[in-house]
């Protein structure tokens, strides 16, 4: 049971925690239930993102009675489940259509947002081996300090360290989750062993090293942050049973 009743605020990066944990529990044969926040605003936010629908589709018990379905014009892509490259392509194009249709953000940023989302989503599909698939959403979020595009992708898979360990050449370089995440952002590092692969996450990391942008990746008990004035910082953190990537781009 995931008890969100006391939540007064859910940061966008935490939204997919509320999805992955209960769905993983359900996939492992446990009766899974999410107690929705009593805070009406938080509850409405999660409902508008499509969180409760995704959970119920996964047979997680959710009592969202009385929570209104308010269309959110700032939501570029609701929480969506995907398992294949073609599904990622469909979602990327749907998100691009929404960005253009709602005239959100500058034209040059729209391609960046789609590219970042797609590369993170493709990594989840191709490397995570997640039994529950992968999830992602894109939101135009109004923070106090300014508006941002938020892309979040998560899976309940094996994590970056175990993915890289599939490449025998990397096994002696990834002892902990945090150094595995850091290594994965480097050029041509891939668990596939293919010397031409390993450019997706490297490219996203390079794009996030720009003013005001931020990339945070959590996998297993490791985490990594990349910002313009913080080339990268990796640390031990609380367990996430899979990988979650959060990208934030100012408009």
């Amino acid at each position: 049971m995931v008890d969100l009743r006391g939540c007064e605020f859910v940061f966008p990066a935490a939204v997919l925690w509320c999805v992955v944990y209960p769905l993983l529990a359900k996939s492992r044969g446990t009766q899974s239930q999410v107690l929705v926040p009593t805070n009406f605003g938080v509850c409405t936010y999660l409902e508008s993102l499509g969180v409760f629908d995704i959970l119920k589709q996964g047979e997680v018990v959710v009592d969202d009675r009385g929570v209104p379905r308010k269309p959110d014009t700032k939501l570029v892509l609701p929480v969506s489940r995907f398992n294949s490259q073609s599904e990622v392509e469909d979602l990327a194009n749907k998100a691009l259509d929404n960005l253009m249709g709602r005239d959100l953000g500058a034209a040059n940023l729209r391609s960046l947002v789609i590219e970042v989302f797609a590369e993170l989503a493709l990594n989840a599909v191709q490397h995570a081996s997640s039994t529950i698939g992968a999830f992602g959403f894109i939101q135009f979020y109004q923070f106090e300090k300014g508006n941002r595009f938020i892309c979040v992708v998560a899976d309940g898979g094996i994590g970056i360290r175990r993915s890289l360990e599939r490449n025998p050449a990397l096994r002696d370089r990834v002892f902990y989750d945090w150094d595995a995440i850091e290594l994965a952002t480097r050029e041509r590092v891939s668990g596939t062993g293919d010397p031409t692969r390993g450019i997706g996450l490297f490219g996203v990391s390079e794009d996030m090293r720009k003013p005001g942008r931020q990339l945070i990746i959590t996998s297993g008990i490791g985490a990594l942050a990349i910002e313009e004035d913080l080339l990268s910082r990796a640390w031990r953190t609380v367990l996430f049973p899979g990988t979650l990537a959060y990208a934030s781009i100012p408009t």
């Binding site: 490259q85 073609s86 990622v88 392509e89 990327a92 194009n93 998100a95 691009l96 259509d97 253009m100 729209r110 391609s111 960046l112 789609i114 590219e115 797609a118 590369e119 493709l122 050029e187 041509r188 010397p195 031409t196 692969r197 450019i199 997706g200 490297f202 490219g203 390079e206 794009d207």
Partner: protein
């Protein structure tokens, strides 16, 4: 001889993000090489986004087509690319052993050689 492939006309999507999307350009590229084109232009004028994964796979598709056709090299011209030529695209070109340069602000030039060359 130069050939032009309208990418949006062929694929029908504005965001080209997957390796699968690049593979769908394979037959058109192979057909151009079969017609002895020494330059193949891909017009991205209605494309609004591409990923490094897409471009990397496109280069692989071109290299495989060169190998299969027995042609040693081809000039690839990407017209109206939807994004600027950044470090990540230069990095993937290095990894593929191809030369990539920007020309005229709206064209990328790529010299691709057959992997058997």
């Amino acid at each position: 001889m130069s050939e032009v492939i309208n990418v949006y006309g062929l694929l029908g999507t504005r965001a080209l993000v997957t390796r699968e999307a690049a593979q769908r350009l394979g037959p058109a590229i192979a057909a151009s090489l079969a017609r002895k084109a020494d330059q193949v232009a891909l017009d991205f004028s209605q494309t609004l986004g591409i990923t490094p994964s897409f471009l990397d796979e496109l280069l692989r598709v071109v290299q495989d087509s060169l190998r299969d056709s027995g042609i040693m090299q081809v000039r690839l011209k990407l017209k109206n690319p939807p994004t600027r030529l950044s470090l990540k695209f230069m990095a993937l070109a290095r990894g593929r052993g191809v030369r990539l340069a920007e020309a005229d602000g709206d064209t990328w030039l790529i010299a691709v050689e057959s992997p058997t060359g």
